[in-house]
Subunit: 336 residues, 2 copies
DNA sequence: AGTATTTACTTAAACGTTTTAGCAATCATT
DNA sequence: AATGATTGCTAAAACGTTTAAGTAAATACT
């Protein structure tokens, strides 16, 4: 039943040639190493016949290249990261890499365990959405260094290759939309996580409201990431109590969940409150109200990250690190 | 800068012991192989000091176990599969496995290329959402067989381990809900893909409408998977033209996109048409109308699939194949 | 004291590739 | 015919583990 896996030596034996010859032919180095054309054909034919599939473990061990890109996101079940994973998969596949993933849940311990695994597996490169205490990312690459590209957010002071978006501008524009529509008092909602993208978005919010006459002090609700629902319910209650008429959410999860809560508990207010959010999940287009938001160019980001990473993998020399900031897009929808 | 990676021989050299000893200690086989406790402590301490990380390529080559589970879904960007991937990741991680994924786009060529890759990489097991022409799955495991579990759908006649849900019942119930609410003429929407789950759902639809007095013939719109939007627009137009008042969608993508189209083009009809769909994406809870749907127990399915798979990996002997059918849940929402 | 057993390690082969160095045989050149 | 170049392959080491088999020393048993 379970036949044995075919290996180079099987082909070699059947053809009465050496393993080296077979290897050179099948890895496309026949000409370069002066293997005759006839021999090459014979080898290839035999390999086809026997349905040879290289043992990548062995190859990797020998070459030191695994052909794997490690991807560490916050949560692959979050459609934003799901899409990111998909685009990264596509691009990586084009470049001849497979993707192995892990979800950190914004937890630096989980992330560091994921990164350690990647390390053990000798992935050729890592794309990572860093989390709060990301010294770990640096710490990880202490011993020997795996090419790494950050995506979505910066990591504290770490000067690494990076692909992100103009979060600040996005937040400014989202809040300006609200203000221009006449909303007077906007509250911002963010997780209690010190993440660069969230902070930039918060700064954009502060900038936007500072520019406006009849200004008010920033109102920021910091939502405990480990107890989101309960916190958010309270925060929204409080926001409405102090008569906020605009709500600015720093990412899709906060926006979506808030929408859910608002619909359940404050249905009548829905027409009066202006809600804007980062990211553009499907639901914001079909919900009532439809949510104006700032869409990040996930496909470009993902492609660019892979491109950068593969570049880094191939030219370990060129140590210049690139920090790429792509432009998001305002998606205008109704407010009622 | 780039220090060398630490290997067993480095530890052995520093301690003046053999590589074998170090290996035995670090792989927890010290007692079993009568390595002294003191030695064990020394080795472990040194490994910690030098921050040793095993080279998994080498280990895998030797042991024939990669510690990787391959996951082939239709599209990781689809939240349904994204969630599945996440639960599988969790469970696999608990069991000591990493997950490598690939998206087939329902294309048997892509799937077979993904499976070949998994094969080459000697993944220890495969969880796969099969596609239309899935002889390939069988074909793949021709030579030597990798434990495989199907998830979400069956594969033609292949008698393999499988985790899916009671699609037929779900479809029956969804359509009965519509009929009981007084909808008279229901159209079903499905992709032009011969997938067991879709077919079961379609059969459920047919069963439900057959049971009802004043019955009508099944109305099935088969949407070209490679040209979904255009086809769906036409199909919906046609359905409304022939005065269908109920729409039954066989999966989330069809439901979501149709909702989008309906909202754009037939806003006034939205209150009169009853829409029900499989899967329970977030948007169905926040949209207008909110969509009654059949939620599959994705977490259980995923867990069960991993459990089954790991079982298979560990007892190659026990050849009995298990086909598990889990129960979904009706999520009742409004229709207007 | 002499033999058997146990303890604590070491040796070395093996996993399946890749790749460098080398060896014959053939061909070209004088 | 002797020399040099070229062609077409082979041999064998190496990648870093795991693990079966072996060995020497210490301990137990008669």
């Amino acid at each position: 039943m379970t036949t044995k896996r075919i290996k180079l030596s099987d082909i070699a034996r059947e053809l009465n040639v050496s393993v080296g010859t077979v290897s050179l032919v099948l890895s496309g180095k026949a000409k370069q190493h002066r293997i005759g054309e006839e021999m090459a054909k014979k080898v290839i034919a035999k390999a086809d016949e026997l349905d040879y599939q290289a043992n990548i473990m062995a190859r990797s061990l020998r070459t030191g290249k695994s052909g794997i890109i490690g991807l560490a996101v916050a949560d692959i079940a979050n459609p934003y990261f799901g899409r990111m994973a998909r685009y990264i998969e596509n691009e990586a596949s084009n470049m001849g890499y497979q993707v192995m993933f892990g979800s950190s849940d914004e937890d630096s311990n989980k992330l560091s365990s994921i990164l350690n695994t990647f390390h053990s597996r000798q992935v050729d490169g890592i794309i990572v959405v860093p989390v709060e205490n990301c010294e770990l990312v640096g710490g990880m690459s202490n011993n020997d260094t795996i090419p790494t590209v950050l995506i979505d957010r910066e990591c504290n002071n770490l000067q690494t290759d990076l692909v992100c978006t103009n979060n600040f501008d996005g937040a400014v524009q989202l809040n300006e939309v609200l203000l221009k529509k006449g909303y007077k008092k906007i509250a911002a909602f963010v997780y209690n996580l010190r993440l660069s993208n969230f902070e930039e978005r918060l700064n954009g919010y502060k900038k936007a409201i500072k520019n406006v006459e009849g200004t008010f002090n920033p109102i920021v609700f910091s939502i405990d990431f480990n107890n989101v629902e309960e916190n958010l319910v309270k925060a929204l209650e409080e926001a409405l109590k102090i008569r906020c008429d605009g709500l600015f959410f720093v990412n899709n999860s906060l926006g979506i969940l808030s929408l859910k809560i608002m619909r359940k508990r404050y249905k009548k207010l829905l027409t009066k409150i202006g809600m804007v959010s980062f990211d553009n999940p499907e639901v914001f287009d079909l919900s009532t109200p439809r949510i104006t938001c700032w869409e990040q160019p996930v496909e470009e980001m993902s492609k660019k990250a892979v491109e950068l990473l593969v570049g880094k993998i191939n030219n370990k020399n060129e140590d210049k690190c690139q920090q790429i900031k792509l432009k998001g897009k305002l998606i205008l929808r109704d407010f009622q």
